[in-house]
Amino acid sequence: MAGTKQIQTLSVEASTEHLAEVRDFVAAHAENIGLNQKDISEIRLAVDEAYTNIIKHAYKNTPKEKVSIEIGSDSDHLWITLMDKGKSFDPSSYSEPDLMKRIKEKKRGGMGVYLIRKLMDQVQYNRKGHTNVIRMVKNL
């Protein structure tokens, strides 16, 4: 049905305990609109990485804080928006991970943002008032 928009929202506490629930929430939407298994897997991973980064970096593991997640789609795109009120992420401070160097230095992390960019077609970071907004779009 061209032009029909479907939007669903979920609000969860910022805790890794909810990771599986968040992945299943976006996967259910993607399945409902008939995406293939590869796309569904990529969307599950992208939302996992974005939500994990909010838990660890924006809220520094403070589970009482909330994260709002919206998933929507029309005939051409699927988009996922995550909103939090924690510390903002500056995308200009991000550089592509040099894996070999990280292993030598035993530094973990930094891989999530890289993966999200590989898995989704567009990624935008914005701050609206006190709210950080990550919007990830996949072309269908």
């Binding site: 590869k38 991973l45 996992d48 894996l99 292993i103 973990r108």
Partner: protein, 115 residues
Amino acid sequence: MKNFSIATRQKNNVTILDISGELDAHTASQLENALKSLIDDESYSIIVNCSSLDYIASAGLGVFMAYIEDVRSLGGDIKLTNMNDRVYNVFDLLGFPTLYDILEDEKEALTSFEN
């Protein structure tokens, strides 16, 4: 509920970890503890069999990154086997196959430890 589990087997001098379920930022600490205790026990020849691993996020890959150099510097290795395509794809996106031994089959990994 944690949808992740680890079982341990021993074949000759090699320890095999069978990991199942979903490995993410919530469950990664279980794998980390298992690897830590192997290193503490001086078991440095390790195979992680991923045949029942349904999903991995970067937090899971981070655990391997954190321990692989330690184990190699002690004369051992962590070899990964039997991944499904979706799991392998995540390792591949991050360039892991050039750095780690990722093998089709557990037998291959056992053989390569013998050589």
